[in-house]
Symmetry: D3
Subunit: 140 residues, 6 copies
């Protein structure tokens, strides 16, 4: 049982905003993160897969495959985008690092299960900044 990690990055705009709250409550709860004209980040995403080695290749999964999945399923959809406005799977979601991470999990977990290989998604770590980040293991 071994774990393999691939790290990718993307640049995006967002703001924290709950439409069912007043302008004042949004500002009180989210502070500068609710600036109405957006702000943005250089996000870093680390995806960990867990499984058994293929003895023939000596690999859990070729990282080129994982990197390509990340590109197609995640990076191409969020890089140089506005997370609140441009990303269908984040529509009607508060784009907190927590929520974005969980949405990424749902997409990647389904995709990796569909590969029918002997490994599964174990963890996603999403850095909003080098000092603020979230980890998710798919736990309910």
């Amino acid at each position: 049982m071994i774990y393999i990690v691939r790290k990718e990055h993307f640049n995006a705009a967002h703001k924290l905003f709950n439409p069912s709250w007043s302008k004042e409550k949004n500002e009180k709860e989210f502070g500068v993160c609710s600036n109405k004209n957006w702000h943005g980040h250089n996000y870093e995403i680390e995806v960990t897969l867990k499984g058994k080695l293929d003895p023939e290749s000596g690999m859990l999964i070729n990282l080129k495959i994982l990197s390509k999945i990340l590109k197609n399923e995640i990076i191409d959809k969020v890089d140089h985008m506005n997370l609140n406005m441009d990303v269908p799977f984040l529509k009607d979601v508060i784009t907190s690092t927590e929520n974005v991470t969980i949405k990424f999990w749902e997409i990647l977990d389904e995709k990796i299960k569909s590969l029918n290989i002997d490994c599964k998604l174990h963890k996603i770590r999403l850095y909003e900044t080098p000092r603020n980040f979230v980890e998710y293991y798919g736990e309910k």
Copy 2:
């Protein structure tokens, strides 16, 4: 169940010294780390909280709150200080990275429990240098 991490830093002096040991034994066990006139580090602390998302805010906890707790309870008490001489909660403690981490846990765990929110302290990682660090989960 999601995990959120905040990283902060502080600069401090310390030395490793067991007063019940001879000067020679301190030098033998602790080497250059026992230099009597102190040395110091740029410490980095990563604090992980674990809990359930608040669906209204999309957050586990506002990182501003966690950052402020870290500032008040830890950083203001150790930054630009001598860990052996200036920090009441480290009095009579050998200021190894292990012991300092455990003391930080005790303080932060109590503080976070007192907030009565749906998350708890999960892990503290303390870097003494980028190549030496300690992790603690509150396990006895």
Copy 3:
């Protein structure tokens, strides 16, 4: 003659857009950076001052002073903002890293000259990402 550097960071949204060009030309020239709904970055700014040591303090300038100038003159005006919409001194400017750096220079150079101390602004380095950055020395 010695050089001292302070590094600060801010998070902002922006897009590259020349209003005198067609939508098509903007897309052709600026690519994904012209996404109409913005994207964003964790910017890092390094400011270098050059001058003679004060023999009494052993310092060129107290970095707390430089850090406070950066906070008041730059960071508070751009952090968690939209560079195109929220920043008066970037109004009508294409918010390329080059232009933003030059505007920062104009502000900081004037401010540091007004201090009447024996040092001057030497260089600004602005990171848009860890792999893309600009350097400016005030050269015309």
Copy 4:
């Protein structure tokens, strides 16, 4: 129960190659990583030990001891080497990050058990690049 981590680095050449496969299959599976004349990396290895503090020293283990074990058992045998050709314990192994990590585990786990101290190997993380890495906990 506390965890202590030491990070070391080494520079090595390698290639991914399965001698039971055709040249074409090796190229198809391993891509540029199978370049017959080798390529190389600045590897980083993080080794985590887990155990109980020694109350007298305040330490789990003196990191100088762990660092010396890493030097003698691992770094001296792989640094500035060709992992496929120069390292006896990697002979007949596909030098994927996964396999190299598992071999490092076998060596370090045996060595640390032989010390008869109150701590054991918990985890090895091996970075091939800052964006590709493997984690192993000795799980079968």
Copy 5:
């Protein structure tokens, strides 16, 4: 006059070896870097261009163009290669960081001059490791 920098990376094998020297002299001068079976690095290259802003685009040069030049002229020729064996422009060159940097300069300087734009190559910095690097400004 402004400076813009793009950083790229590649992984390669090499060894330091002067064929006109004896095996012993190579070992004495180059130490472990002359290991006959090669070793390798994750190289990082920073390329600085210098010139005047294009007022229409607000840019010195679109970094996509610089990134593409680096990919075509340098990265595709050295990534996952053996610098001594696989790279025509390094044939018969001792692959020290110094020599590799100068060869990169010759290629990039000619290429950038051929673009007939208002900027020129100013500096190349090549990291062999995060602690060993070379800078070259084309000075004879």
Copy 6:
């Protein structure tokens, strides 16, 4: 003409204190950096040499030589030390990053001149923290 850089690190305690000033003036000028019981840092030093390549070796200087000079002349004298109390060449000096850098220059410049090789000290960069650093070129 080429530039080669070697980066080393050391951990030390210090405080900023001018003995000809009152306790109050020291606190006013130096703030928390004047804490009487010291604080400390993980310093990083980057030393740049400039000169002509030796065509036989393809190197400006073997970095092992530079690294050994740094170890003998600087690191062994300051690592795990108190800069104010334990370092003869910093006696009676305010241990600001500026002053420490200039003292390092004097030592290294003399040492490198004494080697009678075709390169000279060009620059020292000293990081007190990743966000505060000083550069010195030996300019009077």
